[in-house]
């Protein structure tokens, strides 16, 4: 007690000294040093007291009664030349005080009020890094206090009322630091960066908002938190490397190790993570708002174009290849980023927005998903990256993705014979299908041996008996595949419990899906699925370009107005007359900022980190023309937030991308034109496919072709709104394209001219003329088709190839590129046949499903055709591709499972089954193997190298996983380091069986368990282990990359077959487990 008295006396002395300085009319540096020293001593006394007891003591009471903190703060404002120094000292004092306090100091107004005032004063002058840093620390402390005692919130608003409208200063101060991170942001002693501290503090407030709707409402309505977050993503995204520097052929996915080395990427990921966390823990209204901004402010205007740009900015001249390769690098990087984001996001609501973007977004009238699917075909790195992205998508066990990619097309059951539909659910339990797969394992016969078949059998027999142990480790045991298949299928089944339908051919029923979809071209968007009755007005409006322009005009004016003096009412009314119809129709209470609605770049204000106040007002002006009464029920009707909502969850089709509503005659015309275009599309596709087979042409051609198709379609769309067509295609050139025999170079140059000419030359044909032109064209194509189909020897018989092309009178197939008609999949023929049956068949097509071509959808079609090409694919493409197919096969939904794994299911003649494709590959591989002296040895070398590579990768990851990543993760749910199963694991685990076997061998070399060697292993082994010729192999045969590739392909092919067989076997026992798994799980309330 005595001690306390002394301390109080000491405090009085300090305060006296301080007051003496405060009374001076002029202060100098000495005074400042003196006063801060006394102030520090005083606060230290207070700190010691609050640190040692859990209730207010005399020193605190003295501070309160004398208003020491407040007095000091007010005085500090009167010395502007020392403001920064004084602020710094005060901040440090508060920081010290709050960090030690045993009880909630902030309930004392004499503590909290000066603190808030101090913080607010920092807002205007927080230019110094030092001030910023300590301000954030104190803010963080305050937020921790508020999270503990939410009643403090009242204080935050109350105290600030004397400074104009109620403001949540703590929150506004934190917002500018949301995206602060990276190298410039030096971590504090505790290793926590300022940005991280600010984000942590904000998350505490977010958590609070979950319980306190007032706060949520305040944040949504009065702060720019959501737009700053979302647009900050855009800003950070644009800072990301435009090119991912790697010469590594196998690179296709950004791993944690890779991205954590790029400061800008770490910064982006932290912000994305923060968004994820906010959506997860904040009040739903904040989450909803933020999601809208992320979609419209980041995904659509920023990420979209960056992924899409190669089709946009394709150089018109082929000489401009440098630019193309730059663009290509950017697209590759963007795709890899998107993949990384998808693997990092854990909050389903955020993931949903990303999926909405991938599955539904249309950029320049072409569905993003269609573009991504097409890119699988690209033979460069982009193809590999795109495959990686799809692997990630498939791996999400998401029904919507799988529906859009696969089940949408399989549900109509047009891919199977009518009589076979009831067999879709069949499950063969005797392992016949698995045996079938295993029977396809290739035997690679050496050229030398073919002459003497007895020799060969002897060789095989020898190796049956004396297995070469050194090679055993390269062979994945079938058991390892079975084990993997078991757990993968179980996991997939468990994950799919939340799906809405079993996809067994009955539910959803085969006619449940709107027929248009399955027969569509690549360009059909999912939005055609939705036909809404009450939105015709809006979509009408939106479908016309003129109206769009008006809208843009209006919004532009709006921006201009809000930038200078407020709202120019007259200007608005003028244009509003036209758009009111639609804007008001959806009785919105909220508009997107104009730049968002127009896909304009983000205004600089938003990107400037400290311009919050300015933007604040700007943003609000945008709202001014809204009805006030609407604002109050925002939370109740979240789906009607936006007038131009693209992701309005309740009215999906309520947007720009909805299908044009046309009157019926136009509609028919449109339909016919579309059919024509599809025909051309197919034709061009085939040409492209054919070109890829030659392996000589990069994706320039396909891009050009796409552009051409875009062009036609764009013209056709204009057709619907205007009566004359400005079709930009030169028909002479176009006809030339199809009627003449062209060499590849000629073809290219014509394409070049076609796309080049589009801007200058316009034909004034009407829609009808265009149509008849197209009709004629497609008829010609159809004739060629018919001839080539009826051609008897059109199977994979290369000898007949030449005679075939002479049988095509106006061959569209340039002989110089050695076109093999048999390379066209039968599917394409039939599509073509179907689509050229118009106009008579149009009615049929719309009324019944029966006439629709059998189809499995663009995704499966692309994957399958890529697999058919396996021998030409690179090692990495094949690893990933087989991985994707295996992953697809893990899904137990009968529609997909039967297509992939049931070889006895009879498919429509124009749909190739996986089994068929694999059979063809087998014979292809075996034929190729004959051309080498000792293919068996090559395969063995390939296995050895793959094995070494895998071990090296494993070691690399083991060592690198020990080093901690610089980013600090705080989220309770989502750890950015915990990406979803990376596809990299596929590369690593492809030979997991082998590595297991190797481990076993290491520990247990002497006593090898022969019972583990199955017959299956031996069969595949015997062909690889023919050793006699090893020494005779010319080394240079292996040096040829093409040869190497084929050898790798052979290894992967056999392993893939084992994997498929294992998956098939596992399905056969798990399907009957259904009820069991499901009963056990549904009894657990946490799972549903």
């Amino acid at each position: 007690m005595e001690f306390m008295m002394i301390m109080e006396e000491v405090l009085r002395q300090h305060w006296k000294q301080i007051q003496q300085v405060l009374q001076k009319s002029f202060v100098n540096q000495d005074d400042i040093s003196c006063v801060t020293s006394h102030f520090q001593h005083a606060v230290t006394l207070l700190t010691n007291e609050v640190a040692s007891q859990d209730r207010p003591g005399p020193i605190l009471l003295y501070f309160i009664s004398e208003s020491i903190l407040d007095t000091f703060f007010v005085w500090s404002l009167s010395c502007p030349e020392y403001a920064v120094e004084l602020k710094y000292h005060q901040l440090r004092c508060f920081e010290f005080l709050l960090s030690r306090s045993q009880f909630e100091l902030l309930f004392h107004k004499q503590i909290f009020k000066p603190l808030l005032n101090l913080l607010r004063s920092c807002e205007t002058s927080s230019s110094l890094e030092l001030i910023e840093k300590h301000m954030i620390v104190v803010l963080n402390q305050v937020c921790v206090s508020i999270a503990k005692s939410p009643e403090l919130l009242e204080f935050c608003f109350d105290i600030s009322t004397d400074h104009g409208p109620s403001r949540f200063v703590i929150f506004s101060l934190l917002i500018p630091f949301v995206h602060r991170d990276g190298l410039a942001d030096k971590p504090s002693a505790q290793g926590i960066t300022t940005g991280q501290q600010a984000r942590d503090a904000l998350l505490l407030i977010m958590q609070l908002s979950h319980r306190n709707e007032q706060i949520a409402k305040y944040i949504v309505e009065n702060t720019n938190f959501c737009p700053i977050l979302a647009t900050g993503l855009s800003a950070l995204y644009s800072d990301l490397p435009h090119q991912i520097g790697t010469n590594n052929d196998e690179w296709f996915i950004l791993t944690k190790n890779e991205w954590s080395q790029s400061a800008s990427l770490v910064q982006f990921m932290n912000s994305l993570q923060f968004c994820n966390d906010v959506i997860q823990i904040a009040h739903p209204s904040i989450g909803h708002h933020l999601l809208q901004y992320i979609y419209h402010g980041f995904l659509i205007p920023v990420l979209g174009p960056s992924i899409y740009q190669d089709l946009h900015e394709l150089p018109v001249n082929f000489s401009d290849l440098h630019q193309l390769s730059n663009t290509m690098d950017e697209v590759i990087a963007a795709t890899a980023y998107l993949d990384l984001f998808l693997r990092t996001i854990y909050e389903p609501a955020l993931l949903k927005v990303f999926l909405k973007f991938i599955l539904c977004a249309k950029i320049d009238e072409i569905g993003l998903l269609d573009t991504l699917i097409q890119r699988i075909n690209v033979t460069t790195k982009l193809g590999l990256i795109s495959l990686g992205l799809f692997h990630t998508l498939i791996n999400l066990n998401c029904e919507d993705i799988m529906y859009r990619l696969v089940f949408m097309y399989l549900t109509p059951c047009r891919h199977v014979m009518w009589s076979q539909r009831r067999h879709i659910v069949d499950m063969e339990i005797y392992g016949k299908n698995a045996e079938r797969f295993l029977s396809l394992q290739s035997s690679f016969v050496n050229k030398n041996d073919t002459t003497n078949s007895t020799d060969r059998t002897q060789a095989i027999q020898v190796h049956f008996e004396e297995r070469d142990k050194s090679h055993e480790r390269y062979e994945s045991t079938f058991a390892a595949y079975l084990e993997d298949a078991h757990f993968n299928i179980v996991r997939c089944r468990v994950a799919c419990r939340c799906w809405s339908a079993p996809y067994d051919g009955e539910t959803p029923s085969s006619d449940a899906v709107i027929g248009e979809i399955a027969a569509n071209s690549l360009t059909t968007s999912v939005s055609t699925l939705n036909t809404d009755n009450d939105n015709s007005q809006k979509s009408d409006y939106l479908s016309t370009n003129t109206a769009n322009q008006n809208l843009a005009l209006h919004l532009e004016r709006n921006v201009a107005a809000s930038h200078d003096s407020g709202i120019h009412e007259e200007g608005l009314i003028e244009v509003n007359a036209q758009i009111e119809l639609t804007c008001k129709a959806s009785n919105s209470s909220f508009q997107l900022p104009s730049w968002l609605a127009n896909n304009q770049p983000i205004p600089d204000e938003l990107l400037a980190k400290r311009s919050t106040i300015k933007y604040h007002s700007y943003f609000h002006d945008d709202d001014d023309d809204d009805d006030d009464d609407d604002e109050s029920d925002d939370y109740d009707r979240p789906s009607s937030f936006y007038a131009f909502s693209f992701i309005d969850f309740s009215n999906e089709q309520d947007d720009m991308w909805s299908v044009k509503s046309l009157n019926t005659s136009d509609n028919l015309l449109q339909h016919e034109i579309k059919t024509c275009v599809e025909t051309l599309n197919t034709c061009l596709d085939q040409f492209r496919e054919m070109n890829e087979q030659t392996n000589e042409i990069d994706e320039n051609i396909s891009n050009l072709l796409n552009e051409l198709i875009d062009q036609i379609e764009y013209s056709l769309q204009n057709e619907s709104s205007q009566q004359t067509v400005d079709i930009a295609i030169d028909y002479d050139l176009f006809n030339e394209l199809f009627n003449k025999k062209l060499t590849l170079n000629e073809f290219l140059s014509i394409l070049d001219r076609l796309t080049d000419i589009r801007s200058s030359k316009k034909s004034s044909k009407t829609g009808k003329e265009v149509l008849s032109d197209l009709l004629q064209l497609s008829e010609q194509i159809e004739q060629h088709r018919a001839q080539s189909i009826t051609e008897p020897g059109s199977n994979a018989d290369k000898d007949k190839q030449s005679s075939q092309s002479t049988n095509l009178p106006n061959s569209i197939l340039p002989p110089s590129i050695s076109m093999d008609v048999s390379l066209f999949s039968p599917n394409d023929f039939s599509n073509l046949t179907q689509s050229t049956l118009f106009p008579t068949s149009i009615q049929h097509q719309t009324s019944t499903n029966g006439n629709k071509p059998a189809d499995i959808g663009p995704f499966l079609r692309t994957i399958f055709s890529k697999l058919e090409n396996m021998v030409q694919n690179s090692l990495y493409v094949n690893l990933l591709l087989t991985g994707i197919i295996s992953r697809l096969a893990h899904y137990s939904q009968p529609l997909l499972r039967s297509l992939l794994l049931n070889h006895s299911l009879v498919l429509e003649t124009n749909v190739k089954s996986l089994f068929q494709i694999l059979s063809n590959l087998k014979s292809k591989l075996e034929t190729i193997s004959q051309t080498y002296n000792n293919f068996g040895h090559l395969v063995q070398l390939a296995q050895e190298l793959l094995y070494q590579r895998e071990n090296a990768t494993k070691e690399f990851y083991e060592t690198s996983s020990r080093t901690r990543s610089p980013s600090r993760t705080r989220s309770k749910s989502a750890d950015p380091g915990r990406e979803r199963t990376s596809t990299r694991s596929r590369l690593m685990n492809f030979f997991r069986g082998r590595s297991r076997a190797a481990e076993r061998n290491d520990t247990d070399t002497q006593d090898h368990d022969h019972s583990q060697i199955t017959f299956i292993d031996q069969t595949s082994m015997k062909f690889i282990n023919i050793r006699e010729n090893h020494t005779r192999i010319p080394v240079n045969e292996w040096d040829d990359p093409k040869t190497r590739n084929v050898a790798y392909c052979a290894v992967i092919f056999n392993e893939f077959l084992k994997e498929l067989a294992a998956i098939t076997l596992e399905h056969s026992v798990q399907q009957f487990d259904d009820d069991l798994i499901f009963e056990e799980i549904s009894s657990n309330p946490f799972l549903f």
Partner: protein, 225 residues
């Protein structure tokens, strides 16, 4: 090139057969593959009505390693069994009368269990293996019943004694007198959940019946706080 049967294929066939069997729910019969060989399934049949009422008969199903393409599985009763269809010396049930030729796809092991159950419900005497039993059943039901009750009581007497032939089988079905202690274990087993699955979540925003992607507003309950 047709592949020969391999051990995995047989394992999977048997596992599929067993899964089918579990789905069937055949009252009064429990069966579990032996721990020593998948080709031997140990079973117990509890009979609750008819002349064999009260009997607890152990049996084995011996599956040929050519299954499902070769012979029928054999069913052997392990205690003495007085029944027209059961060989009194070997205890083997005459299964061929019901499955003259084993047909893959048509025949399944659960049907064998059904058949085992049936022979005690409806006793057939045509073409008997045990002619004496068939004769007594037709001519002298009382003697038949007394012989049957010998089998029944013998089966009961041996209930808790472990059969030497199965004592080293980890999957052997053993009986012990009622014990309250085991009840807690039973509760535990019944309430058990597959916790390994708790962390596995799929995603779906599909509206059931509408077939429209990303149509549902809500997320999965499991993802919410």
């Amino acid at each position: 090139m047709a592949m020969e049967k391999n051990e995995y294929a047989l394992d999977y066939v048997l596992q599929a057969e067993y899964n089918l069997l579990r789905k069937q729910f055949i009252p009064g019969i429990i069966v579990i593959p032996s721990g020593k060989s998948n080709l031997i399934w140990n079973g117990v049949h509890f009979i609750s009505q008819g002349p064999y009422e009260g009997g607890v008969f152990r049996f084995s199903i011996v599956i040929p390693n050519t299954f499902p393409d070769g012979d029928c599985p054999r069913v052997l009763f392990l205690s003495s069994m007085f029944h027209p269809q059961v060989d009194p010396k070997t205890g083997e049930l005459d299964i061929k009368r019901y499955f003259p030729v084993w047909k893959r796809n048509g025949h399944h092991l659960w049907q064998v269990l059904r058949y085992i159950r049936r022979i005690f419900q409806k006793i057939e005497t045509t073409n008997p293996i045990n002619i004496e039993a068939a004769h007594l059943y037709e001519q002298d039901p009382e003697t038949f019943l007394s012989k049957v009750s010998e089998s029944v009581s013998q089966s009961k007497d041996n209930l808790y004694t472990s059969d030497p032939s199965i004592s080293d089988d980890p999957h052997a079905i053993l009986f012990t007198p009622w014990s309250d202690k085991l009840q807690t274990v039973r509760q535990l087993l019944l309430s058990g959940k597959k916790e390994a699955f708790d962390q596995i979540h799929g995603l779906s925003w599909m509206k059931p019946g509408v077939h429209q992607i990303l149509a549902r507003e809500d997320t999965l309950p499991s993802h919410q706080n």
